[in-house]
């Protein structure tokens, strides 16, 4: 299974120049504006794209059909993707964390710890994104999944915005119950996010394994 992760890392490393160029460019931007959030978003986005590109490489090479003849199980192939995804997410966290620390150190700003917490939240959200999309890719392949990615993330966002506006017109003040619920969520965000991440990851992995075990090639 280690070989599968190495394969993805080698493939990803081939596009590392682009990642590094973007990191330097947005790093300079972050430093000049003293605002690392833009940099963090770009790094997370680029890494997310790198993760998806490993699926593209696999599909282009028709890799899975060959991989299944190697001394590895179907479950191993899925496990390798999830481990790789966690490595990528941690890499994003480390890169963003280091940039934040560097900017704070250079600008002598305070609040490094708070910043790192936000970076961790961002990383968790990236893991949620992967957790939703990996079972979809496993089921339909990356080419079709790209379309679903767009649908999954734009339709709920656009329709949510529209519905929210309509509700706001009808009821300018949010209901008290909802406000209280959100307050509880915010107060316990440090507990909720890690638990939600682990639960989502677990469900996502289980679904992907089930899909892949039945997949025909």
């Amino acid at each position: 299974m280690k070989g599968l992760i190495i394969k993805d890392l080698i493939n990803m490393s081939k596009s590392i120049k682009i990642v590094l160029a973007l990191a330097v460019f947005y790093g300079v931007m972050a430093f000049s504006t003293e605002n690392p959030s833009g940099f963090a978003s770009i790094i997370l986005l680029v890494l997310a794209m790198s993760m998806l590109s490993t699926y593209t490489y696999d599909e282009m090479a028709n890799w899975d059909i060959y991989a299944l003849t190697l001394p590895i199980s179907r479950d191993n192939i899925i496990q390798a993707k999830y481990i790789f995804m966690i490595i990528i997410s941690l890499l994003g966290f480390i890169l963003n964390g280091l940039t934040l620390i560097l900017i704070n150190w250079l600008t002598k700003a305070s609040g490094v710890f708070d910043g790192l917490v936000y970076v961790a939240y961002g990383t968790a959200i990236v893991i949620w994104f992967y957790s939703i999309i990996i079972p979809v890719i496993t089921k339909v392949g990356i080419t079709k999944a790209r379309l679903y990615i767009v649908l999954f993330y734009t339709i709920p966002f656009l329709s949510g915005t529209f519905i929210f506006k309509q509700i706001k017109k009808l009821q300018p003040e949010p209901p008290e119950g909802l406000v209280k619920f959100l307050e509880i969520l915010i107060r316990n965000v440090d507990t909720i996010i890690p638990i939600l991440t682990i639960v989502l990851l677990g469900i996502s992995y289980y679904i992907s394994v089930m899909i892949y075990r039945k997949k025909q090639f």
């Binding site: 070989g3 028709n62 060959y66």
Partner: protein
């Protein structure tokens, strides 16, 4: 070791797979250990489907497949590590180099032999630093074969590995297979539609036509048991139909393919069957039948 003790490396028993437009129909054959079996048939006959079923890439609706006596479904990793597989076309990522492949495979195969791999790379004149996308089709196939041979494989399963290659490279690859099979524990099962490859290296031939196995026999016996009788058109009627495999007629006369040549010779002194080839036998069986 399991692989050594089994009479057959692969046993395919009565497998059926149905698609909307194609059915692999009750396919059965055995690949004897220590032999080369050519799996031949026209495009779309069911060769790749059968190989995919053997490799547990697709589900079978009926029947069973055993590799070294073990069900091919969820075959143990130790046994999978002894099987080298090469598909038509390359399945390696375009960005990779020979060194990358060695690095990756050494972490996948517990029995990976880097020295053997690089020996093949040298022998097959494969560039070490070029990316895979810069390789020609022949080079890609040679690299895939080098991988398949670099982990103490005892069974090679090849799906159209020599198709689309020029005769020189094909010959080079067939020589490698011949070298591999010198070890009596080794077995090769390869599909192809190039009959000359079968004639050159196969011990056994399995012929699939329209999703059904037409025959699965020793190549020598097949050639020995069949013969061609060149005769006049009007003489065709005189030949006992039980022996006829197929007939081909032209303006100049007819040619009749017969089976059980020895028995035929004992019973018919009038006609003298001539030696035939695998290609002829298959052509007569797949086409000639209709004209009998």
């Amino acid at each position: 070791m399991v692989a050594n003790t089994q009479k057959n490396a692969i046993e395919v028993d009565n497998i059926t797979i149905r698609y909307d437009d194609f059915t692999l129909d009750k396919v059965s054959f055995n690949v004897p250990s220590g032999s080369i079996m050519g799996f031949v048939g026209e495009n779309g006959a069911g060769k790749t489907t059968t190989i995919k079923a053997i490799l547990d890439l697709i589900r079978t609706e009926e029947g069973s497949i055993r590799i070294w006596g073990k069900p091919s479904k969820n075959l143990h990793k130790d046994l999978k590590a002894m099987i080298g597989v090469v598909f038509d076309g390359s399945n390696l990522h375009e960005n990779l180099t020979v060194d990358n492949v060695n690095f990756i495979m050494s972490d996948i195969y517990p029995n990976w032999r880097p020295k053997v791999f690089y020996n093949y790379v040298e022998k097959l004149k494969l560039p070490k630093n070029k990316k895979f996308k810069e390789f020609s089709r022949g080079m890609k196939m040679k690299l895939s074969i080098a991988i398949a041979l670099s982990h103490d494989s005892k069974l090679l399963i090849l799906d159209e590995a020599t198709s689309g290659l020029d005769p020189m490279i094909r010959d080079e690859i067939l020589d490698i297979f011949m070298e591999f099979i010198q070890d009596e524990e080794h077995t090769i099962f390869f599909s192809t539609h190039i009959i000359s490859d079968i004639e050159k290296i196969a011990d056994y031939v399995t012929f699939i036509h329209d999703g059904k196995i037409v025959f699965s026999e020793s190549k020598d016996e097949l050639i020995y048991n069949h013969g061609i009788i060149p005769c006049r058109k009007e003489d065709v009627q005189k030949i006992d139909k039980r022996f006829i495999v197929g007939t081909r007629q032209s303006n100049y006369g007819a040619e009749v393919m017969i089976r059980n040549v020895d028995e035929f010779k004992r019973k018919n002194r009038e006609f003298i069957p001539e030696r035939t080839s695998i290609e002829e036998i298959m052509l007569y069986i797949s086409r000639g039948k209709e004209s009998v």
